[in-house]
């Protein structure tokens, strides 16, 4: 069965520090991968998606970047965090077209920038 791992679960970082969040998927090949951000009490905002190794599409201009160095690994990064980067970050994968389950989400990372 397919599983998605996302870490860390919580992170407190000072303004101006770098960021690296990692997400890996097991049990599937060539998944579509996504990074979402969820502000408190709000819906999910798509940040990046990837349909293959090295292929990254950005939905929203921001202080963040994403990379996909391996088929089932997706990384969210920042060189210098801003206070506004605080939020709940979710990684997701999808093989829409091969299954009916839409997107499967990781457990999330709560990022607090102080």
């Amino acid at each position: 069965s397919q599983t998605i791992h996302q870490w860390p679960a919580t992170l407190v970082q000072p303004v101006g520090s770098p960021l690296s969040l990692e997400c890996t998927v097991e049990g599937t090949s060539n998944p579509n991968l996504y990074w979402y951000r969820q502000a408190a009490g709000r819906g999910l905002q798509l940040l990046f998606y990837s349909v293959g190794i090295g292929q990254i599409s950005s939905e929203v201009p921001q202080n963040l970047s994403a990379s996909r160095p391996q088929d089932r690994q997706f990384i969210l990064s920042s060189k210098k965090l801003l206070l506004s980067d605080s939020g709940f970050y979710l990684c997701a994968w999808s093989d829409w077209g091969r299954s009916s389950y839409g997107y499967t989400f990781g457990s999330g990372t709560r990022l607090t920038v102080v």
């Binding site: 819906g43 999910l44 709940f88 829409w96 839409g102 989400f105 999330g108």
Partner: protein, 109 residues
């Protein structure tokens, strides 16, 4: 631009008091409508996929229905453990997913 709107934003129910959550959508070439449950501090958990108007799916006390403009999540005789945020999302012809803002459901014993 695709839009998905959920109402109400929050809903308080007494245990056993049935109700419905609404998800209205404007999506270019709808290919699927999803419902998720999200507990505090966790990622959304998949509940249902609906593909076409008139389709219905059930799971325990939940039933999801779909029309050409909206979807409903009916909760029959809810229990406190049904308390969560319920998210709907629509996938368009380009396979892009748009989420609604969610409905926060609180069921009191």
């Amino acid at each position: 631009e695709d839009q998905v709107t959920q109402s109400p934003e929050a809903l308080r129910l007494q245990e056993g008091e049935s109700s419905s959550l609404n998800c209205s959508y404007t999506v270019s070439g709808l290919r699927g409508l999803f419902w998720y449950r999200q507990d505090p501090g966790k990622g959304p958990e998949f509940l249902f996929t609906l593909y076409s108007a008139g389709e219905e799916k059930e799971k325990e006390r939940l039933k999801a229905t779909l029309t050409k403009k909206e979807s409903f999540l009916h909760i029959t005789a809810p229990k406190p453990e049904d308390s969560a945020t319920y998210l709907c999302a629509a996938i368009n012809a380009g396979n892009m997913l748009t989420f609604g803002g969610g409905t926060r459901l609180m069921v009191k014993p």
